[in-house]
Symmetry: C2
Subunit: 104 residues, 2 copies
């Protein structure tokens, strides 16, 4: 079963969950209230996110709080790095063009 960060963030619900718990850790029930699906469906998403280590569970009595593991998000950032170089380069080329236009 393929299970990586990119596949994890492919689903819009999972992206929303990530954004939601980025602010504060939440229980599955609390998270599910924000969506139009069942608590079990959310639990499945949480399981996938856990397997990718994008989130971490913290048991508190019978409640389980899930919080974001920010470090995994950096993997995406790392992959983007190669393209950031390209678009920054294109911008600097555009800057050059604009500078030359102003000089005329």
């Amino acid at each position: 079963m393929r299970r990586d960060v990119f596949q994890a963030i492919a689903d819009p619900t999972r992206r929303a969950i990530i954004s939601l718990i980025a602010l504060q850790a939440m229980t599955p029930n609390a998270i599910a209230l924000h969506f139009d699906t069942s608590r079990q469906a959310i639990s499945k998403h949480l399981k996938i996110l856990s397997e990718c280590e994008l989130i971490k569970a913290k048991q508190e009595g019978r409640e389980i709080y899930y919080e974001l593991e920010i470090k995994r998000m950096k993997e995406i950032d790392k992959w983007l790095e190669q393209f950031r170089k390209i678009w920054e380069n294109k911008f600097s080329q555009l800057d050059d063009v604009l500078k030359k236009l102003k000089q005329k």
Copy 2:
């Protein structure tokens, strides 16, 4: 059919295609040579990437060159922005801790 940038980069083959043509525009056949699948399978990936406007086709005779549309990659970067704030913040908090430790 769901079709957005995040779903597009979920597949490892598509990520590899993106990295490949980031350097220079390539034809489907040339791209397929880099992978262990058929030309048609690559064409399917190219179609998905096109629909997400992550790549752009340029016809040249009977050959079609696909090139990266770097601007769409920025959407991912934009989404990451919210988390970048968090991890930079955590780093700065860590910095504070380290500074205080040094002061002792």
